[in-house]
């Protein structure tokens, strides 16, 4: 059983794989992702993944057979385990709990080489609806406090398979970065009685020096204090703390802007590895006036040195205004 351990100083939870710990020699040869090898995510190979949890496709389709557009399966090598109690307890001054959680993979397309920039708009929409369906289902499990939705694309960004996919991890606690963001938003709200994210959207649209793309319901911009070169955020223009409250009409706008931004990143940076994460509210929170869900996209272009890791103090060699200009012009 994996373990969740809490750093006593800053309250950060870490997943420790206590089952089969990696030995020193396991780190010497980093595995390369499969290239041209057999792909368990391709259409026709449905029996090579754990049985599916959800799929959109032909209504007459049999489960775990072809004929799907998106498909959600349990991760074959989950970092957290679905069965069991949380059993939060102390160890002297330390805190830990069982590594309980869900770890699922969303296969974005039956085709091996069809990434988001090449999908039809309504196929991108399927991805968001499927994640929303999974959130609605998983939040019934009272053990879970948070659901992380993220994508690792490319080996340098942590992907171990090349077939387009993203992931979901449900955790029994709220990750520290999300907690800090919500806390920061709350402090601003207490002082200003306004949402800090709504204010950012307003200022970015007004100044228009960091905006990358915009449509009726969403805006994409380079954040003012971007940690990484070409870091890009996508926010709904209207205040909304929970991704799963997405309106039907918003889903298409979101799909269009994500596709547009990823296409621009692909063109300008020559198809780079990247990660994105949906920053969402904790599952058990009522609608929050001080937090605004959003997507953070981080192309993996430079090495992160110890300085950055150890201090949370990043050096960004490309000003966000210049990055925005490059991205804005690309099409």
């Amino acid at each position: 059983m994996p373990e969740l351990r809490r750093d006593p100083i800053i309250g950060r939870w870490v997943i420790i794989s206590t089952e089969r710990g990696k030995r020193p020699t396991d780190y010497r040869s980093e595995e390369e992702p499969e290239m041209g090898r057999f792909c368990p995510f391709c259409e026709g190979h449905e029996d090579k993944t754990p049985p599916e949890i959800l799929a959109y496709g032909d209504p007459n389709r049999e489960k775990n057979k072809s004929g799907w557009r998106v498909r959600v399966v349990p991760n074959k090598f989950p970092v957290l385990q679905i069965e069991g109690g949380i059993n939060r307890h102390g160890d002297g001054m330390y805190d830990k709990m069982n590594g309980i959680g869900a770890h699922e993979v969303l296969i974005e397309s039956p085709q091996h080489n069809l990434e988001i920039p090449n999908l039809e708009d309504n196929r991108v929409e399927d991805i968001f609806w499927a994640f929303r369906d999974r959130i609605i289902d998983l939040r019934r499990d009272v053990r879970f406090e948070y659901i992380l939705i993220f994508k690792n694309k490319g080996a340098a960004a942590g992907a171990s398979l090349t077939h387009p996919h993203s992931q979901l991890i449900a955790t029994p606690m709220v990750p520290v970065r999300v907690r800090q963001e919500i806390q920061g938003g709350k402090q601003y709200f207490e002082y200003k009685e306004r949402c800090i994210f709504c204010d950012m959207v307003a200022q970015e649209l007004a100044s228009n020096v960091r905006v990358v793309a915009e449509n009726d319901q969403f805006v994409a911009f380079e954040p003012f204090a971007a940690r990484f070169p070409f870091e890009t955020w996508i926010l709904p223009k209207n205040h909304d703390s929970h991704f799963e409250d997405l309106q039907k009409s918003e889903a298409l706008s979101l799909s269009k802007i994500l596709k547009k931004v990823l296409t621009k990143i692909k063109i300008v940076l020559d198809d780079p590895p990247y990660n994105y994460i949906i920053h969402n509210s904790p599952l058990k929170d009522a609608p929050l006036p001080h937090f605004h869900w959003h997507i953070e996209i981080m192309p993996k272009l430079s090495k992160i040195a110890g300085f950055e890791w150890g201090t949370g103090f990043y050096i960004n060699p490309t000003p966000p205004e210049e990055a925005a200009q490059f991205l804005k012009e690309a099409d």
Copy 2:
């Protein structure tokens, strides 16, 4: 002039290189560090670095000539600039200031291949005294709030030269991670009236399952909630919030334990790239009862995926207890 920008949500400061921003194509070919090429840090090449700020060596030695044991020079490509005023100001809801600071390089040995595990104990001591001297000197500059001391070893850990060296960056604000640690320590102190780091030292020594090395004045252990495999911390056994208050007798103990730990890491992990950082108190703080300076060593073994970056939620595939066992036994 580089810029320091503050993330309005969580208060994280980022350095933005506004001078000569890296363009998209600059990221496509990551430079490899020099191997066998001309080294500006080697003895005899003193005129190839900016003029030295400090050096220990032969008392009759001429400045910027050979005959030194450690040597501190300004970084030729500083991330912050030493001249100018801070000029902290707003930009709508955002905050920024001029990228004022010091960025220095400490050359740890005149020989190109002599890393800390191969240096005499008192030569390692020189490194710590030189950093202490630089702190004492730089803290006279009222513009500075914090000094970061860190080492990047190996290209994968961010080093651009192979000659043994470490670095110092003086900043006009306190990095967010340090602020959070001090804040966490303070909350614990308010509740327990004890230093959280002192309590950690006591529990680690008593349980003895994560201790890697120990001497009269220092202890090295794998932290309970280690983010990275083989992450190792070194703490003074006696409470001390400021590294620069190091006692004469402590310096030798510190040198011995650092050398021992780095030797163990070199043996067990086959000379891996790594980073270490000294977590110290802010320059203008009086001695703090709730913070304890320490060194955090992070071997660079696995790729950090977007999940980790975006959430501060790390997955560590080697339990710290197992890592401690491997390191303890190596000699």
